[in-house]
Symmetry: C2
Subunit: 107 residues, 2 copies
């Protein structure tokens, strides 16, 4: 299990614009080998959002970043002033995992 997160600081009052930008995005993720789950997540702190993608492995993630699907998914972009500063990417490998009694249904 490998997780790629990108943390965004959204300008006050522009949250709806930010979420709409993500809703309109064509991700092409479901055609990508090793893709497990994507979520846009809203934090409790104002303006804190992360894009949160679970991959079967780091190799699957790297393969996606080198694909035509990745290029197309990132061709759009947000309107001016929605995001403050630069998104911060972080990458994590699992060390210990523990699953609930039923298979994960992440929505």
């Amino acid at each position: 299990m490998f997780i790629a997160m990108n943390q965004f600081k959204v300008a006050a009052g522009r949250e709806a614009d930010f979420e709409a930008g993500w809703r309109q995005r064509e991700s092409y993720l479901d055609q990508t080998p090793g893709f497990v789950h994507f979520a846009l997540m809203k934090g409790d702190e104002q303006g804190d959002y992360i894009s949160h993608t679970i991959w079967a492995s780091r190799e699957a993630f790297i393969g996606w970043t080198q694909s035509e699907a990745f290029r197309r998914a990132h061709a759009g972009g947000m309107p001016e002033g929605v995001i403050e500063g630069h998104p911060r990417a972080r990458f994590y490998d699992s060390v210990i995992t523990e699953s609930g009694p039923v298979p994960a249904n992440l929505g």
Copy 2:
């Protein structure tokens, strides 16, 4: 889908101690309603770790924090000097989700 993350800065050279502390922990999570998945995740940046727990809902997470299982799971602790500063907790609700073609197997 609700995610609770706790970010740790582990002292240089103490990574193995930190991971061992987590391996020895009795989490009791699998007895907890709404628990979906736990992972201790190691970041690419030196000393960056997160505990990453997926819950069916925020209510499930809050219920766990008020439980005897939570109290017991946190009764231990790390040896002196393993963690630098204070862990940083962040809480996220899903806004948009997208699943891969096969049910999530998160390990």
